[in-house]
Amino acid sequence: MALTKEQIAQRIALEIKDGYYINLGIGIPTLVANYVPDNIHVTLHSENGLLGMGPFPTAENVDADLINAGKQTVTILPDGAFFDSAMSFAMIRGGHIDLTVLGAFEVSESGDIASWKIPGKMIKGMGGAMDLVAAADNIIVAMQHTNRAGESKLLKKCTLPLTGANCIKKIVTDLALLEVGEKGFILKERAPGVSVEEIQNATEGTLIVQGEIPEMKL
């Protein structure tokens, strides 16, 4: 069975270590926060100027001045801090963020990512995504393996305008966990009940299968 969005988030949460500062993008990445184990302390960064992002507020605690990068109302935890946009991106560019999780339209076998623009159809802007992918050593892309038309999103070469080049090293999809190596996507784990062949069929880019591929443990 292919993973649900929640299960993709759950698998990514297993990559988190105690003490991490983490930036989670919009969509599936946001769900990762729900699966951080209780014995692990992480600090969530939101690029609009917030460290120590807490849960969504109750109706009484809503404050228009306190939002996350997705423009949702949020809260701040007791160990948190506010700061301006330039400092926020100094944290990102300066390599102080331990893990970045974000979505994508396409990822290429050389680690390129396209996530911000569909020419002629959608031009919303890149927001902070280009800064995040250019800076972070530890980036995980969370996305579906194929698009709504059933076409692979793991390609030899991206067809859409890039967000960053040669920067993605790990991808978790509904079918698999893959790493980007010198020669293509290295299959590391299969979603429970999904065969290597199914993953191969859904991957347009070079898929490297070495030995027995274990099932994900969620």
Partner: protein, 233 residues
């Protein structure tokens, strides 16, 4: 001390003239200078180049300037919340430079700090790098990004005093702090003017040197774009 305080946006609107480059603080609708935005929207000023992280929503915030066709060009990182703008853009009715958010913040900060340009890895190998000088430092590729300044910077703070010292609240700080530095003329509007000496000098976010005029704004709507509550999720 010379007071920088004026009564309202009406006293300052004459500073905004056709063809100027204007910075406007805020992230989405959080921390936007609502009073000055409304004053410009009520004026006949046109051909503005606007530098702002976002461009408001349809008919609110900077979206009002768009509806009135007061904007010639915009530099922003994300315009997804404004359908009218997306349509104008797809039809080529407005000039647009998309700037990655961190690069935008740093270009503004650099402008205010007297740094003409700087190298960043952000955008290397993408269309953002087109036409820009590229250089390698310690084996990594970087592109040269130029500083930004504005004829007038419009910023919004929580509290301020007659000297122009500003304190922000929560995430409403965002681009306001750097923009205050990058305006050749900076106009600050605040929710509350407080007497000189009542702000703790240890806790001032923007020292008054960067602010030329300040006033207490009125009728703040402070709209919320995505009200999200604990029990909804």
């Amino acid at each position: 001390m010379m007071s920088k305080q004026v009564n309202s946006a009406d006293d300052l609107i004459h500073f905004i003239r056709n063809g100027m480059t204007i910075m406007a603080g805020g992230f989405g609708l959080c921390g936007i200078p609502e009073n000055m935005i409304n004053a410009v929207a009520a004026s006949n000023v046109i051909d503005l180049t606007v530098i702002s992280n976002n461009i408001g929503i349809d008919n609110f915030g900077l979206g009002k300037w768009l509806s009135k066709r007061q904007i010639k060009k915009i530099l922003a990182s994300y315009v997804g919340e404004n359908k009218e703008f997306e349509n104008m853009l797809l039809k080529g009715e407005v000039e647009m430079e998309f700037v990655p958010q961190g690069t935008l913040a740093e270009r503004i900060r650099a402008g205010g700090a007297g740094i003409p340009a700087f190298y960043v890895a952000t955008g290397v190998g993408t269309e953002v790098a087109e036409g820009k000088e590229e250089r390698v430092f310690d084996g990594q590729r970087y592109i040269l990004e130029k500083a930004l300044r504005a004829d007038v910077a419009l910023v919004k703070a929580w509290k301020g005093d007659e000297a122009g010292n500003l304190v922000f609240k929560d995430t409403a700080q965002n681009f306001n702090a750097a923009m205050a530095m990058a305006g050749k003329l900076t106009i600050a509007e605040v929710e509350e003017m407080v007497p000189i000496g009542s702000l703790d000098p240890n806790h001032i976010h923007v020292p008054g040197i960067f602010v030329q005029y300040i006033f207490e704004g009125s009728n703040y709507e402070k709209r919320i774009e995505r009200l999200t509550l604990a029990n909804q999720v």
